[in-house]
Symmetry: C2
Subunit: 406 residues, 2 copies
């Protein structure tokens, strides 16, 4: 993996970059749609391409339980399994173990837990997290970390930081050994080219965040994530901790703020120097009939949209708002008329009668909205106008409550 | 609406035709995917295009209840509402009233019934059925008929035939009057160009079928449907009655066998001279994880597909089997790699974890399979090889139990 820093904003910490992986490039700031079970809910890889997604995230915990890592490996790895040919990031599975598993026992070795599906006993340690992500074949793998809920006592958070640093070192060690092994065995380099990111924990305690960041940087990773945020703390506190932590991470590595967030949160975090984001909001809200627009969230279940003939958002190029350009069938014969755009009234109707197409079209719009927002921020950084863009976006989106992004 | 007969098979009653409507042409034999609530479940209009669908069916009963005909009309009609720019057929709503409504009272005037959604009392007579389908703006409207279950006593079936003929005459009369009115008012002709099909009832009683066909032809319709079949009678009996009825319908009008059926049923019915079909099987089976192939139905939930890396069917051009050709995003920028095909293992996984994408990909494959089957039959009729095609298809599909189609 290679990270190039292409431009920096003069008035904020926002920056433009490019990450090269064995499966292609992605530009930063980047938004990663979340494919929990190896599918971004309702959307196909070609939808994701059309939406402008350049990198996709998938969850190790869920894939390990179903269909099982062995199945994904047998099919040729996660790219082939999910049909996504571009850059792919997997998490370590730790967050889901801590948030979903009905029983878990944490020791210095790792976490013993029961599956939330069938109660089967499993064990996830740093070595297992690396091995599973190798088998999945992600372009970016994440270290195993210990997540604490919010609020957390300082000594609980401190213990989790200690353990997260130890686990990160073990992940780094086994990951490097395997990379060296596959390089010396003459493998094609795809396995060896997998990047590994460290994850800074420390809850809202700045000294813990600082120590964790310093220790991880000393170990040395291809990129650094800010974890343990967006778990219930107030937004302003989240942004303060993200700002503090981002400032302590090396400038020549991508920074990833895990699980964030709303469009407004993302714009403000980009101003803090964050490069990568993931969030289920575009698809989860989509399935609830909520559409993101530059003017905020449209709740399409509402009676006011009953006979609203307008698309979700004028000027949006997604299939929901602009119809499809496809007039040919799969065997190449052409029909004259192209499929039409969809009204808010139609999407509301689909949501109300549980027609999957409606949930899918709103999800597609939302992922397109997020990806276009990232593209607009990249353009603004490139052109030296990020501050103006962010102010205008936040004011219009209705989230500029703190008077800007700084 | 205009129907051109382009070729006829020498050894069977199969025929090739073309129907021209205000929203474009469709070729016959044609398969119509079913968009019950104004959406073909999980699929977008551009998916339907890619699958090779040329005409789509939607259900008047469901649309009348939700969102209401007034909403569809306010948005600009059903084509615009559902985003489908091509030919569109609506049923009269009668079949659903007879099969879904929890209470119904049939008189010579029409049917009083309660909604299966909220119990609201409604009335559907021939005049209402025509008016609603006018408001929806379908290219092909269907008369209101009385459907009887199978088995039905002869006198029950006879009474339903009498009533269906009377209702058909009233539909014809009000439909023609409105067409004449809009023509004399100088309207653009779209409303006036809506076709109206009669529906032959009569259960499995040949004399009733014969009388119903004769009376409907005397009234005069743009096309003729064979209704009241595929309601529980044995397949061989269905095909006998369809053959008997089709032979009594005029050669210069399209013939539509309602609600049929499996790929094998359709091939055998095409041999009997049927031109149009609709069925929920491709999408319903798709949502249950069942995929149609030339070798029969694949039940993808099965453990045997756990690590099966093959696509559903080699050579199928659908997005599930062949990946997508789309490498550009919606704003035109191109990524190098095209999205990949999907393995049976992946589709099985999606079905097992309820990932909508899996249901959608299998539905897309199934509709593509049906539409390609129609295209292959049209080619075979054109080339004078329909008999050989049908024998070979039925033998391979495993449904050639009666020794062929004749």
């Amino acid at each position: 993996m290679r990270f190039e820093l292409l431009a920096s904003d003069a008035a904020s910490s926002a920056r433009l970059g490019r990450v090269s992986t064995a499966h292609g490039e992605f530009e930063t700031p980047a938004f990663m749609p979340v494919g929990t079970h190896g599918a971004v809910k309702t959307l196909s890889p070609s939808d994701l391409r059309a939406a402008g997604a350049q990198i996709v995230l998938s969850n190790t915990y869920h894939l390990s339980l179903r269909p099982g890592t062995d199945v994904v490996k047998a099919i040729g790895g996660l790219h082939r399994f999910m049909g996504w040919p571009g850059p792919l990031l997997t998490d370590s599975g730790g967050y889901q173990v801590f948030s979903l598993a009905p029983m878990r026992k944490v020791t210095d070795d790792g976490v013993e837990f029961r599956s939330h599906i069938d109660g089967a006993l499993s064990f996830l340690g740093p070595e297992e997290a690396v091995r599973i992500q190798r088998d999945l074949g992600a372009d970016v793998a994440m270290v195993l970390d210990e997540c604490v809920p919010y609020p957390a006592d300082r000594d609980i958070a401190c213990q989790a930081v200690d353990r997260s640093i130890q686990w990160a070192a073990r992940c780094r060690s086994v990951h490097s050994a395997r990379a060296a092994h596959s390089a010396s065995a003459g493998h094609s380099g795809h396995e060896g080219s997998q990047a590994l990111f460290g994850i800074v924990q420390g809850s809202v305690y700045e000294d813990l965040r600082e120590r964790c960041a310093r220790e991880l940087v000393a170990i040395g990773f291809d990129g650094y994530a800010i974890g343990g945020l967006s778990v219930g703390e107030p937004i302003e506190r989240m942004l303060e901790v993200a700002a503090f932590t981002a400032a302590r991470l090396p400038a020549d590595r991508p920074r990833y703020l895990m699980g964030v967030g709303t469009p407004a949160d993302i714009v403000r975090a980009v101003a803090l120097g964050v490069d990568m984001f993931d969030c289920v909001m575009p698809t989860r809200n989509g399935r609830n009939g909520q559409a993101f627009t530059s003017d905020g969230l449209l709740r399409l279940r509402g009676a006011r949209y009953r006979d609203d003939a307008r698309p979700i958002e004028d000027g949006c190029p997604c299939e929901a708002c602009a119809g499809s350009e496809r007039v040919k069938n799969s065997e190449g014969s052409s029909n004259a008329k192209r499929p039409l755009a969809f009204s808010r009234a139609y999407l509301r109707h689909c949501v109300n009668v549980n027609e999957i197409l409606g949930l899918r079209l709103i999800s597609l719009h939302n992922v397109t909205f997020y990806c276009r927002l990232m593209a607009r921020m990249r353009d603004a950084i490139r052109q030296g106008s990020f501050g103006a863009f962010a102010d205008e976006f936040l004011a219009r989106y209705g989230a500029g409550r703190s008077g800007g992004f700084g």
